[in-house]
């Protein structure tokens, strides 16, 4: 029991002194302001009080009475310094009151110093007890001082209670009031000797200091965690170990002396042991301190490091953004964060990503938005409070303010790279509580700074990639991107993927009619509409010229058909705006093919979609055609697109223009020759080639002099030789059009004779290409039946008879007979104007030797 009393008797003042001194050191190390200074004064008086008490108890010179007076003086200082601190804490200014109490304080101190407060004080050994007790006599000054001290403390409490009613917003005020109350009780306890003999006042003082410390911490005036530094831990621990060593030496020295050990060796051992155990203890305590105060900060630091690693060398904007928003959410503990990134197209900062998935913001910030203007000038973040208080934000429009209010905006953090604002992170209220922890936002600011460079690089990369993959005119992906994307999408797809190839109908004619500028404008407009309808359901690319490719992942044929039909209808109704012709319209033909049902890989998919598109064009345009086997049969046909056909027609038109007499000859030959080919059982692709060859068979006549070409009388031998050259000329022309190469055999051989007496290569029978034989019959028939000025009239029957007559000599006999049959059966229609006939001699190919 006695030992417990000794512990209380000595321990509490020692602890109190250590505690007060500790707080004083922490305060001294921290950043000072009025409040800290006031609190330091209060702590200084408490340190003095504890110190004087210890000195008094130890009867240190000049004696107990002296230290008692110092102690009383310090005790009397505590309420006044407490009062000063309180006034500073609640930011109250009462100069008169301060002066009044100050004067009284000085008077009390004088009275105390003159010996009127304690008249006598001596430390006496308590009988049958190991400790000494203070015996003192109070003077008149003590009673007066006590009254004044209590009056001051009561004033403090009264004011505090009044302030609390008004200023409940003032963080920590409750703790300060509690601390004042505890001091009041502690000092009051001294008036009751039964309790007063215990160091209740010290205990109360220490507790009160703790409460005040906590109040200051709450008020964020003192960042406790930054003050409790490694140095403080080191100093405190070193002191403790030294004190413990001294006690150990003192306590055990007698024991070792009895053992006959040299005390010096003993001290050396103790010191050595102390030094050895110091380092692990220090580490242990330091870790605990870190755990206590730096735990969150450390976790955040680790998170920042992880984030830095995550974005290093990452050039994908979405990945960098995702990493940033995830890190922001982790550090702030708040999911309501939004990333805005500068969009060059709209010249505004648009929402890019939120920490919380599926969240989206519809508003954008233009360059005139006050946030953007602020970040252009300053690097500091913007807080919600600033919007109200900083006149800079008076520039804000009501709509912008409403947008920010709607997301409960709290903090905006800039993302700047090379001094340029590339984006910003908006942090918003977590539910209804505002983000109070500015430390978090500062850390997020650091995250932002780290992310800025990565985002900037990713943006540049994306821009470069975009420039390489975007078609400038239509703002759709280009051919290169399309090919990569198609390969990737088909490889990835697990369900079905449909590819649509949409071609603008007769676009070349539109271009010819209105010029390329208008054509480009039309294409851009159509592309924009297609993108609009497709939205995020697929990828729109410009495959080539006037053909768009639409990749529709996870879309079956039915859905794709509906979507493409929607596009078709939209384009059909779309006015290609023009001042001169507001009613100008274009239509779209589309071929669809679905992977993996109708194609095994991306290449076949593309080919099949192309076949379907060609079919759509062929079958009347402005329609959507699904790929199927029928379309597949016409595979070869797809080699010719509408542009090429247009070229062919343009060339035949050129011959017609040069030789009016044979006007329409090529088209008629094409009609007859394809009818013969079809009747002879040719494949559709062959028929198509023959049709093309028929159209081009006389193309070389462009190079024949007009006087020969349009001569109305019989040609001379020289003229005939010149005329014969048109075959070679035709081939020369066609050679320049690689996609027409397949028609060359038919064209080159159309003046060959079955009997081998034709030209230019003197081929005979089946050596003559099938197409050429068809054209030969058709060409001769049209020549007989056409209104040529150098011949007389012949009727169709005579013409047919002539064909039959020359079967086996000039013509393939089967073909001649088949054709005659077709004419007689009326399966080949002859235009009425062709009923007139001419002299036979001139149309037949002369045998050449």
């Amino acid at each position: 029991m006695n030992q417990i009393l000794v512990l209380i008797y000595w321990g509490i003042p020692v602890l109190s002194l250590t505690f007060s001194l500790g707080i004083f050191v922490i305060l001294a190390l921290s950043k000072k302001d009025k409040m800290i200074n006031a609190f330091m004064m209060m702590m200084a008086s408490m340190v003095l009080w504890s110190f004087a008490t210890l000195m008094m108890k130890l009867s240190v010179e000049p004696g107990s009475l002296f230290w008692n007076r110092v102690m009383v003086g310090a005790l009397m200082l505590i309420p006044y310094t407490g009062y000063l601190f309180f006034m500073t804490f609640v930011r109250m200014r009462r100069r008169f009151a301060l002066m009044f109490w100050g004067v009284l304080e000085v008077l009390m101190q004088i009275v105390n110093a003159m010996g009127y407060t304690t008249t006598a004080a001596v430390m006496k050994q308590v009988p049958y007890s190991p400790y000494v007790e203070l015996e003192y006599t109070l003077g008149i000054g003590a009673y007066v001082s006590y009254v004044l001290i209590f009056a001051l403390l009561l004033t403090c409490l009264f004011m505090a209670q009044r302030e609390y009613k008004k200023s409940r917003y003032l963080g920590g005020l409750k703790n300060v009031i509690l601390a004042l109350f505890i001091i009041f009780i502690g000092i009051g306890a001294n008036l009751v000797p039964v309790i007063g003999k215990y160091p209740i006042d010290f205990f109360a003082g220490s507790i009160a200091s703790m409460f005040i410390m906590w109040a200051i911490y709450r008020n964020r005036v003192l960042e406790l965690k930054f003050v409790i530094t490694k140095a403080v831990v080191f100093t405190v621990l070193l002191t403790a170990v030294t004190v413990a060593s001294i006690f150990a030496v003192n306590g055990l020295i007698g024991f070792f002396e009895n053992l006959g050990m040299d005390t010096n060796i003993f001290i050396l051992i103790v010191t050595f042991v102390s030094l050895i155990i110091f380092q692990p203890i220090f580490k242990f305590i330091y870790n605990i301190v870190n755990q206590l105060f730096y735990k969150e900060e450390k976790a955040r630091e680790e998170r920042t490091e992880a984030f830095t690693r995550q974005i290093a060398n990452n050039l994908k904007l979405s990945s960098v953004a995702e990493a940033l928003m995830s890190a922001v959410a982790d550090v702030s503990g708040n999911l309501r964060n939004y990333l805005f990134i500068y969009d060059e197209e709209s010249s505004s900062y648009r929402f890019y990503m939120a920490s919380k998935r599926l969240e989206n913001l519809s508003f954008a910030m233009t360059k005139q938005h006050p946030f953007v203007m602020w970040f252009d000038q300053y690097d500091e973040l913007i807080t919600g409070k600033q919007l109200d208080t900083n006149p800079f934000f008076k520039t804000m429009w009501d709509d912008d303010r409403r947008d920010l209010n709607s997301i409960l905006f709290e903090v905006a953090i800039p993302l700047k790279a090379n001094g340029k604002l590339i984006g910003m992170v908006l942090m918003c209220h977590k539910d209804t509580h505002s983000i109070k922890d500015m430390e978090h936002t500062q850390q997020i600011n650091i995250l932002g700074m780290t992310a800025s460079l990565a985002i900037s690089n990713a943006l540049m990369f994306e821009k470069a990639r975009e420039e390489a993959t975007i078609d400038n005119l239509t703002q759709t992906f280009n051919h290169r991107y399309f090919m990569d994307e198609l390969a990737e999408a088909t490889a990835k797809t697990k369900t079905s993927l449909t590819l649509a190839l949409s071609g603008v109908d007769q676009f070349n004619i539109y271009n010819d009619l209105y010029g390329h500028y208008e054509g480009d404008h039309a294409l851009a407009k159509i592309a924009s509409k297609i993108k609009q309808v497709v939205g995020d359901r697929g990828t729109v690319c410009r495959y080539q010229g006037d053909i768009f490719a639409i990749i529709l992942p996870d879309t079956d044929t039915k859905k794709a058909y509906d979507l493409i039909e929607k596009i078709r209808v939209v384009i059909e109704g779309l006015t290609i705006a023009s001042v001169e012709d507001p009613y100008r319209h274009l239509t779209l033909s589309t071929g669809l093919c679905t992977f993996p049902i109708q194609a095994n890989d991306d290449k076949i998919l593309l080919k099949n979609a192309g076949l379907a598109l060609a079919e759509a064009k062929r079958s009347g345009r402005n329609r959507t055609v699904l790929y199927n086997s029928t379309v597949a049969e016409d595979e070869e046909v797809t080699a010719l697109d509408e542009n090429q056909l247009a070229t062919v027609y343009a060339l035949t038109a050129a011959i017609d223009a040069k030789d009016h007499i044979t006007f329409g000859h090529s088209q008629r030959v094409a009609q007859y020759a394809t009818a013969i080919a079809s009747a002879m059982g040719a494949k559709p692709s062959e028929i198509e080639t023959i049709r093309l060859a028929s159209l081009l068979h006389d193309i070389g006549k462009i190079g024949i002099p007009e006087h020969v070409l349009t001569k109305t009388t019989r040609l001379t031998t020289e003229e005939y030789e010149i005329m014969k050259k048109h075959v070679d000329l035709s081939i020369t022309i066609i050679k320049h059009m690689p996609s027409f190469a397949k028609v060359i055999p038919s064209v080159i051989g159309h003046h060959e004779r079955w009997d081998g007496k034709g030209y230019p290569r003197h081929l005979a029978k089946e050596e003559i290409p099938f197409g050429a034989r068809c054209i030969a019959v058709a060409d001769a028939f049209d020549a007989i039946t056409s209104d040529r000025h150098y011949k007389s009239l012949y009727d169709i029957d005579i013409a047919v008879q002539e064909i039959e007559r020359n079967a086996g000599t000039q013509f393939d006999p089967d073909m001649a007979i088949t054709f005659a049959k077709l004419i007689r059966e009326g399966k080949v229609l002859i235009e009425p104007t062709r009923s007139t006939v001419y002299s036979i001699e001139s149309f037949l190919e002369k045998p050449v030797n």
């Binding site: 917003y169 900083n390 006149p391 008076k394 520039t395 429009w397 009501d398």
Partner: protein, 536 residues
């Protein structure tokens, strides 16, 4: 957090920054706010019928285009839509309509719609006034929750009456007299009752019309602090103060001044002739009043800083343009002339300007000629370090005589009074003058014909009395000038018949009937009374 909470939490810096932070703006920052909010207003305005009627198919997209394309306007341009309160035709939905008299207008009153955002801005301006009124240095203001507030201004639908509404729920004050009771009182009664209550319970804030404050102060001093009120309801401290003041006045042999009895924290005053009354108010009350400028069409647009020496414009209330007086006169002589205007960053010190405003936040008025003259004072003479220009409110534009902020006399008012009086006044002109006590009055210079048939024709006093009958009849506030403020509002000067006609033959410009220019007046007086001239 509302204003009460901020005050209680002692967040003085935050309060100052929020409400008075505009005083730290540079001119370019001020213009950034102006330009940004003007573009917002253009967008709102363009989409409204009122906007289309004013813009007349013009679509300004920039501030420069706006100033170039849009004509200057007057209330007549808005009257059809505003007087019928056609909300659907306005740029934004109003939450309150503010009224004022329309002197010389085609209706008795003018009305102006206030949107929620405008009211919010007005609230901030009012709080800024109160803060600055109680400030002696930058950031140092002396306000508490629950202060005693004498609101001596007109109730709704006048703009001043909006104050209690905007402060409700934001800043708690004890109104003297309480708002509800005050509504049942006349203007004079309300001021008297508020003053009495202040005397008993102490007064912290005073918001009033300068001329009325001076008159009340004079009456208090003349009665030497006599209150003619019972002792009931007196706060002990106030009674002690009152008693000490009485004793001191006896000992010193001087009257009791309001400053002996009241310890005002803030004094806000408005009114046309505030410039002339300010010093008097400070002498009486021991506190320099803070001048504020506002109006029905413009809301509260200018406040003095803590030095109370020159008005500073608020950046977010209206877009301000300034028309130099030279341009004003050119336009006055030739109404088809389009006067030039300047923005705040373009004006010159020591110049006089007529103010032209465009409301922000969905307000109705665009390039509106308010009819007030300001002088831009040199910043070098100001000690507050505010970088924005300081202005001195001079008066209403010349064709209007504003008497102590109580009433505005126009050419039409005077002409009507003369016609009704049947006096043979053939020519006249009127000037605004100040008496020895800085009180404003109208000096009406007249010519009479057929003097021999009109006994007493040359008795200026008789003519004045006769004219006053009709002035009082036409303008109700005119009567109050004498009753409430002790002002003699009219003086008549008679000049020989034909003088004005003779003068008109010598000049090429027309003679302005109200407040003609000084040169014209001097020349007429020379013609009338010889070279010595100026009796007006």
């Amino acid at each position: 957090m509302n204003f009460d909470a901020l005050l209680n939490a002692k967040r003085k810096d935050e309060i100052w920054q929020k409400y008075c932070g505009f005083l730290d703006l540079s001119v370019s920052e001020f213009m950034d706010i102006q330009n940004s909010l003007l573009l917002e207003q253009l967008q709102l305005f363009e989409n409204s019928e009122l906007g289309r009627s004013i813009f007349k198919n013009k679509h300004p997209k920039t501030v420069a285009e706006f100033r170039k394309m849009i004509p200057l306007t007057e209330y007549d341009d808005y009257a059809d839509i505003l007087l019928s309160k056609e909300v659907s035709k306005l740029p934004a939905k109003p939450v309150v309509w503010i009224e004022t008299t329309w002197e010389g207008g085609r209706a008795p009153v003018k009305v102006a719609p206030y949107t929620a955002a405008m009211v919010e801005n007005y609230k901030e301006a009012c709080l800024a006034c109160i803060i600055l009124a109680s400030s002696k240095a930058k950031g140092e203001f002396d306000l508490k929750v629950g202060m005693n507030f004498l609101n001596g201004m007109a109730p709704l639908p006048y703009l001043t009456g909006l104050l209690p509404d905007v402060l409700e729920g934001e800043y708690t004050v004890n109104y003297f007299p309480p708002i509800k009771e005050g509504l049942a009182m006349s203007f004079g009664q309300r001021n008297k009752e508020g003053f009495k209550m202040g005397l008993k319970q102490g007064l912290d804030l005073f918001y009033g019309l300068s001329s009325v404050i001076v008159r009340m102060s004079e009456q208090f001093v003349e009665g030497s602090g006599s209150t003619k009120t019972s002792l009931s309801g007196f706060k002990v401290s106030q009674l002690a103060k009152y008693a000490v003041a009485k004793i001191r006045s006896k000992i010193d042999g001087r009257p009791v001044y309001p400053k002996d009895v009241f310890n005002l924290k803030g004094f806000v005053c408005i009114g046309t002739d505030t410039l002339h009354f300010k010093q008097k108010i400070e002498d009486y009350w021991g506190i320099r009043p803070l001048e504020v400028f506002g109006g029905t069409e413009v809301t509260c647009i200018a406040i003095e800083s803590w030095i109370k020496d020159g008005l500073v414009l608020l950046p977010n209330m209206c877009f301000y343009e300034f028309m130099p007086m030279s341009e004003f006169y050119k336009n006055l002589e030739n109404p088809s002339y389009v006067p030039k205007t300047y923005t705040l960053d373009e004006i010159k010190e020591d110049e006089y300007y007529e103010l032209v405003v465009t409301n922000f936040k969905g307000g109705a008025f665009v390039r509106y000629r308010v009819g007030d003259i300001f002088k831009c004072e040199p910043n070098t003479k100001k000690t507050d370090g505010v970088k924005l220009p300081h202005f001195r409110y001079i008066d209403r534009i010349d064709p209007v005589i504003d008497l102590a902020g109580f009433t505005r006399i126009t050419e039409a008012t005077i002409a009507q009074a003369i016609t009704m009086s049947h006096l043979h006044i053939t020519s006249w002109f009127a000037l605004k003058r100040y008496d020895s006590q800085h009180r404003p009055y109208i000096n009406l210079t007249i010519e009479l014909n057929h003097p021999q048939n009109d006994p007493g024709f040359d008795d200026a006093v008789l003519i004045k009395e006769q004219l006053e009958i009709y002035f009082k009849y036409i303008d109700g506030d005119y009567a109050n000038l004498h009753k409430m403020l002790g002002i003699e509002p009219l003086q008549v000067t008679i000049i020989p018949y034909g003088t004005i006609d003779r003068y008109l033959k010598t000049i090429s410009h027309p003679l302005q009937k109200v407040n003609p220019n000084h040169y014209d007046v001097v020349e007429i007086m020379k013609l009338a009374y010889g070279t010595k001239g100026d009796r007006a």
